[in-house]
Symmetry: C3
Subunit: 144 residues, 3 copies
């Protein structure tokens, strides 16, 4: 069995943004030498997601609006905390902890013939919900 | 280490439907000869999900209604695009890209003693959100 | 390749609750002797979740309120079933089957140097949505 482990550092200059990490994951899989196996890609922080969907800026803007509707940054019930108990701890990122549950923590992708085994439109993204700081993504390859 | 890789082709004749793929995954695991390991089952298309829940038609109808409430096909803000920027590309499936995030892309299931290691009511389904076309599901087994 | 398989029994005395299973998963990974690999942790029941997020009671209360908004126990359209078709089967847990889709069935975590490879705030939880009964969680380690 072979394994390969790499942490990718991210520093997104906005509070929220969707960033492609597809090529980085491809590179790590290629460097691993694994022909047949699995790769796990997960956010290492609990206010961010890794997900697979379309590389289309309109859709990404749609996600932004939709997530803000489902779980607003400040639902307006309290000017300070937005009504979130979590924000009484001095944080202002309760919404980010919720949004990440919708979009997911991780993806697991098959490796076949040394390549990511993906459908034609599958693209790997990092979704930052509480940015302007350094955060990490973990890529773990296992197989042979 | 043993691996087994198979793509299942689906062609759902409705726009949206929930289809059992449980027996197909069981068959592939059995054919793999893997006694102890993991199987990844994922939609290869970004407007479909693979998920595990109850084999009960009432619940499936409840999901349909709930997902349509959370992210309508056309929220009515524009007769053409429903207000989705994604639909300005000529697509009409923005809602499908959202619904799949709620229901998830993939499941990872343990294999123990050569069998899917599942609880009593766990059943594997494919959820099509933009059907009437051929799509694929990937099943990847690793273990020994 | 090494594997380790263990089922954890839970009996949550409330209908809904979030319970840390972090130390149990750490223990199983440690006992497996796997230095490099993956661990799958999944609910074996379809009205419960395993997820990774913050160990902060305010956030957990926020999740409770938010999930109840997104998919109420009884949306009030019918005193008996809440309007859920699933509840016509005699069950009263349709909401639980929905909430578990938001929070997820499973997590897959990397193992590196014999340890769970997690970010600083990642903590593993079980989320019970229909408790007061015995249920199981599956932990499956593979690697070497």
């Amino acid at each position: 069995m072979k394994t390969q482990t790499e942490e990718l550092w991210m520093e997104v200059p906005e509070r929220r943004a969707i960033v492609s990490i597809h090529r980085e994951v491809e590179r790590i899989v290629s460097e691993s030498g694994v022909e047949d196996g699995l790769v796990l890609v997960n956010a290492m922080h609990i206010t961010a997601s890794v997900f697979i969907n379309d590389y289309e800026s309109g859709l990404h803007a749609d996600y932004e609006r939709w997530l803000e509707e489902l779980v607003p940054f400040n639902p307006g019930t309290d000017p300070e905390t937005g009504g979130y108990l979590h924000n009484r701890t001095g944080e202002d990122n309760a919404d980010a902890h919720h949004k990440r549950q919708i979009m997911g923590r991780e993806v697991v992708i098959a490796i076949t013939d040394g390549q990511l085994h993906l459908g034609p439109w599958e693209h790997i993204f990092y979704y930052e919900f509480d940015g302007c700081r350094r955060k990490r993504i973990l890529v773990k390859v296992i197989g042979e």
